[in-house]
């Protein structure tokens, strides 16, 4: 599973993209917990930021299912236009 980060989140984490081994279907919320457990810095950043999530380039709630081969993205509220 590919996980993408954008904008402020990408900058704070110092990471634009990572790959997670994930054989069983899981949820966006569980992946997020797993990411927070990587380090105190990741936890702080992901806790302190209002986050949006997309799976395969569509917005989803955090209880949405993600599985092997999916593209999961986390990012701050959008500010285009």
């Amino acid at each position: 599973m590919k996980v993408l980060f954008f904008a402020l989140l990408r900058e704070r984490l110092g990471c634009a993209e990572l790959v997670l081994e994930q054989n069983e279907p899981t949820t966006v919320a569980k992946v997020l917990e797993q990411l927070k457990s990587r380090s105190q810095e990741w936890r702080n950043t992901l806790d302190n930021q209002e986050l949006l999530a997309a799976v395969n380039q569509s917005f989803v709630d955090f209880d949405a299912t993600v599985q092997k081969g999916d593209e999961l993205a986390f990012f701050p509220p959008v500010t285009g236009g």
Binding site: L4, F6, A7, L8, E50, A54, Q57, S58, F59, A73, F75, P76, P77, V78, T79, G80, G81
Partner: protein, 152 residues
């Protein structure tokens, strides 16, 4: 018909207007253009626009389809620029052609309200005082949410 584009280069208003006004069935054309605006108290030199390649185009098409489902529209064009944008440069263009003005105005405003809250773009301001990511505005969420309670 919906056309969306995410691009670094500027758009040409004359060409866009020509594209919107081709059909004699459409008596009304409304356009919105958003530009890089000066920032009070700091000297803004430019913005950088980051986006989520692939998802942006999908999101813009989806927003366009929602507008088409709500109002009888002949044509929608949505263009969003990315990269480095100097003061007073164009950022975004939304154009709608319709039979009547009321629908064209409503659709253009709907498209902008949804684009502001549902298309994955992020602005970063570069000023004499440093750089900072632009914060999302509550007023944009409020503007977008009013379309959920009303069909017009």
């Amino acid at each position: 018909m919906i056309r969306v584009a995410v691009q670094e280069h500027n758009f040409n208003m004359a060409e866009l207007y020509h594209e919107l006004s081709q059909s004699p069935a459409n008596g009304a054309v409304v356009t919105f253009t958003g530009l890089v605006r000066e920032v009070v108290d700091t000297e803004l030199t430019h913005l950088t626009l980051e986006h989520y390649p692939g998802m942006t185009e999908r999101a813009l098409n989806d927003i366009g389809q929602q507008a088409m489902a709500r109002w009888p529209l002949g044509k929608i064009i949505i263009i969003h620029r990315i990269g480095i944008l100097g003061l007073n440069e164009n950022i975004v263009f939304v154009g709608v052609a319709s039979g009547h003005r009321k629908q064209a105005f409503a659709a253009a405003e709907f498209l902008m309200d949804y684009l502001k809250t549902r298309a994955p773009f992020w602005k970063k301001e570069h000023t004499s005082a440093g750089t900072s990511w632009v914060a999302a505005k509550d007023s944009d969420q409020t503007a977008a949410s009013r379309w959920q309670s009303s069909k017009e």
